[in-house]
Subunit: 351 residues, 2 copies
Amino acid sequence: MVAGSKRARGGSGRVKLEEVARKANVSTATVSRAFNEPDKVSEEVRQRVKDAARALNWIPNAAGRALASRRTHIAGAIIPTLDDEIFAHQIGGMQTVFSERGFTLFLGCSNYDPDEGLRQAEAMLARGVEALAVVGENHPPELFDALNSRGIPYVVTYSYSKLSPHPCIGFDNRAAFSRMTEHLLALGHRRFAAIFQPDTNNDRVKERLRGIGEALTAAGLEIAAQDLMMGPSTLEFGASSLARLMTQAIDARPTAIVCGNDNLALGALMAARELGLDAPGDFSITGFDDLAISSRLSPRLTTMKVDNQQIGVLAANELLAVIAGRQERAQSREVVPDLKIRESAGAARSR
Amino acid sequence: MVAGSKRARGGSGRVKLEEVARKANVSTATVSRAFNEPDKVSEEVRQRVKDAARALNWIPNAAGRALASRRTHIAGAIIPTLDDEIFAHQIGGMQTVFSERGFTLFLGCSNYDPDEGLRQAEAMLARGVEALAVVGENHPPELFDALNSRGIPYVVTYSYSKLSPHPCIGFDNRAAFSRMTEHLLALGHRRFAAIFQPDTNNDRVKERLRGIGEALTAAGLEIAAQDLMMGPSTLEFGASSLARLMTQAIDARPTAIVCGNDNLALGALMAARELGLDAPGDFSITGFDDLAISSRLSPRLTTMKVDNQQIGVLAANELLAVIAGRQERAQSREVVPDLKIRESAGAARSR
DNA sequence: CTGAAAGCGCTTACAG
DNA sequence: CTGAAAGCGCTTACAG
């Protein structure tokens, strides 16, 4: 023992590669190779090393490995919130794919605060994420700068635009809402209202509103100021908004209500029932998301469905392809929402 | 330059602490202290170091730091799925607390496969998580062994039992369903049915069924084999189960239906409406979770509410307390579900 | 195929 | 308060 000649330095107490090497009677290099480049080690030695590792119950220390190899096998995802199942499903899809490929996933929720998102991204970067997925483009430029300057592959999810400077995995929010609006126009509606979640720090919501606006403009229409309701994405706000809209004189009130999501639309439908109104008889209404319940309540809700888990899967696959060097940069992938035409939106009443 | 005398070894290309030290004209030790133990560095030097770090845009390399300090500032959570908002909310709460305290969160979903959960736990352990939260107790013993042998603090969430060998943050699933059953017994019901999600690999569901069973046994009752429906946790399964139950002769069929969650109960209520039946007129029914919609549909659903985000917050706080050395071991915390008595369960009809 | 040893980027016990 | 240097646990360029 030369103890005493060296500085005391705790150590983690965990079994380390060196002990496996000693037990297997090989060098540390060989142990490392037996696991990371098994082809370079003879069958017999490889077996001996693996047996020794198992016997000692060795789990490699990822920090040591990361420091030496400059690989962490960690990816990160930053979403606004897990309270919305839309993002939860995305993360679920991503997590599964990453896990299958030996990657562990860091999760950050910004609670719709771009600065918080940036802080979390930086924490992930410090911890050496090899790739990052963020929801939407609404982030401080520092976030993308940090990613680009380090050459960390990333994707923007949930939104998609051909014009985006970023690789996008998602759908065109604007086009989706234009399409929904056109569906209502085709049904003969001329007076429109919208019930929406807040668009603060939310490029997706802004795009949705823009989509409605463009379709209406093309038809020479627009939404009157008093017919645009914006508030929390709750059943209550949907309900109170519908009630407000319906206080207007019957021949002046909107016949078509485009909601920012199913939740708001369902709330509105509940309020309507209490007011003795119904869709599509008294007004038409649409949602977005196609929640499980939306097709089962009466009236069945006209809405659009996006495969969010698939977005997560595609995002993870793109990032893994870049990490593996199979491609230079993540490619954008468009996911097309499915328009579900159901009972809640019908032909406009003639007046 | 002595280049050439040393082995070539890439390097990450990132700015490192050494460069900050050089620019600030101090040793690497001082740079490290300026950030980690600022009190030990003079005001002036500290400022110089921070300026240099900012100028160089230095982000410390977490692997180097982890290796030297044996701290990673990483925590992990393993849940069955993110498709259930119950777990999503837990993770959301946890994430926020950990993030505030400088911890980054690893997320793993087992998809209800205990082996997959174990694999993910091992991956997290290798990456040096300082604490781990897992949902429920239904995990291979190796998982808890690995945690205990390394002294990694952990908590079991969503379930709670005084008898558990593990620190639990959650509620007593058995007691909750006993309570709900007693509520129905007090309303005069004697013939019970249950519509439940699968109990495979799911100790929480098993406990729920046990809770119902115990309350019924105490009243000299039990659920007949044909009145226990178990299947996927979907609106559809709730609906088809209700239909099946209601095919029985009117004076022989159950008057009280305990559902494993709101989703199943809502499905059942929808089917009832289509069959021209209603609650509480023709039967009473209860759920669990108190989804937003459950109190707004007609009939309003009698159910129980659990603050899942709070479970996540409590879990993170317990783990952080152990990490900080403020306590030896995570303490169990019971969260009491709130019984929401509403219209869907009423007095049993006299026959 | 295998080993000796340098190096990854930090922290920290020790000395001053 | 500050610095020189050892050490954390791996990987890998080099040599054989």
